[in-house]
Symmetry: C2
Subunit: 143 residues, 2 copies
């Protein structure tokens, strides 16, 4: 079970000092989510059950060839984004800077060990609107 | 981890007294296996890691709509078969009687709690060749 909150970004911080990974992903199905993702040199199949803040999530490894085979079967557009990992003790902010057809969108996710911690989280100044409960900001609705 | 042995069938027993389920399945990918299956009114997504007798297996629930959406994306043919469940103490024989493009093929699988039990299994008289290690009899190679 993954417990997370999502926020739009008011103003990007200086990103030059943070690590990042380049991500490409696509959806074979959106309800429930069956997603393929390329993250650097790793290829992953993900299933996500229903739910917003807390969702069942299963991951399994794919080969590059399997990814490319399934890449031909995705619905709509692939999503490409650069994900920055920003320490924000005791959490890590995952800041997604979108490329491709969603270029201009910036969104942050923070994962929590419990619903209580998620609810009491105080976001940094540069975060904007909380979109945790807005399905439009599910990546699966952005294809 | 699933531990099982597979056999061809020399001669079908009288099947009239056994329970069965009708199965339709297809493959989005075969290496690794990403399979969709309809089993009566249940729709399941399955991932299988590599390996023959023992393979990692992950299952997740699909809706009918998700199944039908993914059904459009399968490789090759869908596989249809009637699966009989035949008690063979302390095991259950799963006997698959294939329909569709594989009509005429009959194959049995038995699942075991350990590799030791799998190796010491004595099959009933009506079983034929042991094809556990023959990849041609993976359903994913029959599409």
């Amino acid at each position: 079970m993954e417990i997370e909150r999502k926020f739009l970004i008011k103003e990007l911080p200086d990103l030059s000092k943070y690590d990042y990974v380049d991500i490409e992903q696509g959806y074979l199905c959106t309800h429930p989510v069956v997603r393929i993702r390329k993250k650097n040199n790793k290829y992953i199949l993900t299933y996500k059950g229903s739910g917003l803040m807390a969702r069942e999530e299963i991951e399994a490894e794919l080969t590059k060839e399997a990814y490319e085979h399934l890449r031909e079967k995705i619905d709509g557009h692939a999503i490409t984004k650069r994900r920055y990992l920003i320490p924000f003790e005791p959490y890590t902010i995952e800041l997604d800077v979108f490329e491709g057809h969603k270029k201009g969108l910036n969104m942050a996710e923070v994962e929590f060990p419990s619903v209580e911690e998620a609810n009491s989280f105080v976001p940094p100044e540069w975060f904007g609107e909380d979109v945790t409960n807005d399905k439009n900001y599910h990546n699966s609705n952005m294809i």
